[in-house]
C-alpha cells in the first residue's frame, strides 16, 4: 500500500523538534494526543505542533481531523471494488462478500495495535459519527454495486441496499467483539460473523436451552459461549 504524503517535500525542521516525515507517523502522533486529550479537544494545531510541522503541511497528509482515523479510505474502497470484480461468477454472492470483507481488513501484525486505536476512535467517538456516516455509506455503496451486478438490479434496489446495510452491521459486530477481546484475530471474527449470519437464517444455530435437542452438535457449538473480555 502506498503511503500518501511520503513523497511530499517538507519544510526545513524547526529548532529542537524532529518533524514527522510520513502520514503514518503523523497518524500515530495524533492518536497519542487523542488518547491523552480526547478527540474533540485536540486541535489540528496541536497535532501539527507535536509533529514539528506547520498547519499547511498537516493538510498535505490529511484533509481534516476527522480523516485521521479513517485514513485513505477511498483508496481502500477502490481496492475492494477490484477485489469484487476479480471473483468469478461461480463464487456464491455471500461467499464473495465474506472473503472480500475479510481481505479488506487484513492486517500486518505491526499494524494491529494502531488499527485497534483507529477502530476505537471510529466506533466510540460521538463527534466522529456524522463524518463516519458518509464513510459507511461509501462502503455500503461498493457492496450494493456488487450485489446489484450479480443479481441484475440497480444498486439502489431494496435487496442490494439491504444486504449492504446488513453486512456492514455484521462487520461492526465483529469489530466490537475484536475490540473487547485482547488476542482475537479480526479476520477470523469477521469470517465467523458472516458465516453465523447465514446459519442464523438457516436455523442451524444452537437451539434454545431446554428445547430438547441441545445435544445435537451444531457448527455453532464450536464457538465459545462467552468471548473473553477484559
Amino acid at each position: 500500500m502506498t503511503v500518501p504524503g511520503a513523497a511530499v517535500p517538507v519544510p526545513a525542521s524547526r529548532v529542537g523538534r524532529r518533524r514527522v516525515t510520513s502520514r503514518a507517523e503523523l497518524e500515530h502522533i495524533a492518536f497519542t494526543l487523542f488518547d491523552r486529550e480526547g478527540f474533540e479537544r485536540t486541535t489540528i494545531d496541536d497535532i501539527a505542533r507535536a509533529g514539528g510541522i506547520g498547519r499547511r503541511t498537516f493538510f498535505r497528509y490529511f484533509p481534516s481531523k476527522n480523516d485521521i482515523p479513517w485514513g485513505n479510505f477511498d483508496e481502500e474502497l477502490d481496492r475492494m471494488r477490484v477485489r469484487f470484480r476479480a471473483f468469478p461468477p461461480r463464487v456464491p454472492l455471500m461467499d464473495a462478500i465474506r472473503v472480500a470483507t475479510v481481505d479488506f481488513n487484513r492486517l500486518a501484525p505491526e499494524q494491529v495495535p494502531w488499527h485497534r486505536r483507529r477502530m476505537e476512535l471510529i466506533l466510540r467517538t460521538p463527534a466522529l459519527q456524522a463524518h463516519s456516516t458518509l464513510r459507511y455509506a461509501a462502503w455500503r455503496q461498493v457492496v450494493a454495486e456488487f450485489v446489484g451486478q450479480r443479481t441484475g438490479q440497480s444498486p439502489d434496489a431494496l435487496a442490494p441496499r439491504t444486504i449492504a446495510y446488513a453486512v456492514l452491521g455484521v462487520a461492526v459486530a465483529a469489530y466490537e467483539q475484536w475490540l473487547q477481546t485482547e488476542d482475537a484475530d479480526l479476520g477470523d471474527l469477521l469470517d465467523t460473523a458472516m458465516r453465523q449470519l447465514g446459519a442464523a437464517f438457516a436455523n442451524s444455530l444452537a437451539p434454545a436451552p431446554g428445547a430438547g435437542t441441545a445435544e445435537a452438535p451444531t457448527p455453532f457449538s464450536a464457538w465459545p459461549a462467552r468471548v473473553r473480555t477484559r
Binding site: A130, T162, R195, Q196, G198, A199, A200, A202, L205, A225
Partner: protein, 214 residues
Amino acid sequence: MDHLGELSDAMPELVPQLPGPGRPPSTTRRQIQEIALEMFSAQGYDQVTIEALAAAAGISRRTFFRYFPAKADTLMADFDQDVERLRLALRYSDPRLGIMAAIRRAVVAVNSYQVDDLAHLRQRLQLQSDHPALLANAIMHYERWQDVVAQFAADRLGQPAEALVPQVIARAAFGAAYAGFMSWLCEDAGALGPKLDAALAALAEGLGDRAGTA
C-alpha cells in the same frame, strides 16, 4: 408478570395518566416530540432551549426531564416507543418460530409509522443530518433497538447478549430494517410493514445459498 405495567411503559399515551402539578394530563412524549420538531426546524436546534420547549408544551422544566433525559431525545419519542413494543413482541413471540423468523415477524408487526408521518420523518432526518449531536443521539437510540434484538437472540441461544452471534443477528436485522425504512421513505407510497418484510426477506434470500454451511 405485570403485563399491563409493561404496556403502560411501552405506550404511555394508551393508559390514563395521573395528573401531576403543572402538567396537563394530556401532555405526552409524542406531543413534546411534535413541538420539538416544529421548533427545531423553525428556529434551529441550537437556538431552542429546554425552557422554551417546556413552555411551549405547557410543562415545567422539571416535568420535561421526567419525559426526556435531554433535548435531543425529544425527536426519538416514536422510535423509543417502537423499541419497547419490539421488546414485548419478541418476548411474547411464538417459541416455535426460528430466531430470524421471529425477529422478522416482530419487526413488521411493531412499526407504527404511517404514510402521514413521512413529512415529519423527513424533517427529523434532515435535522439529524444537519446536526452531528442529533445524529449521535439517534445512533444511541438505534443501539437500544439492537440491544433488544440481541437480548432476544441471546436468550434463545443461552448466551450473553454481548457475544458475537447475538450481536451479529441484532446488527444485521437492524441494517436490513433500516434499509427497508429508507427505501419506504424514498418511495412516498405504500405501507412500511411490507417494505420491512421485503427487506428482511431479501436478506434471507441473499444468504440462502449459504444456508447451513457454516
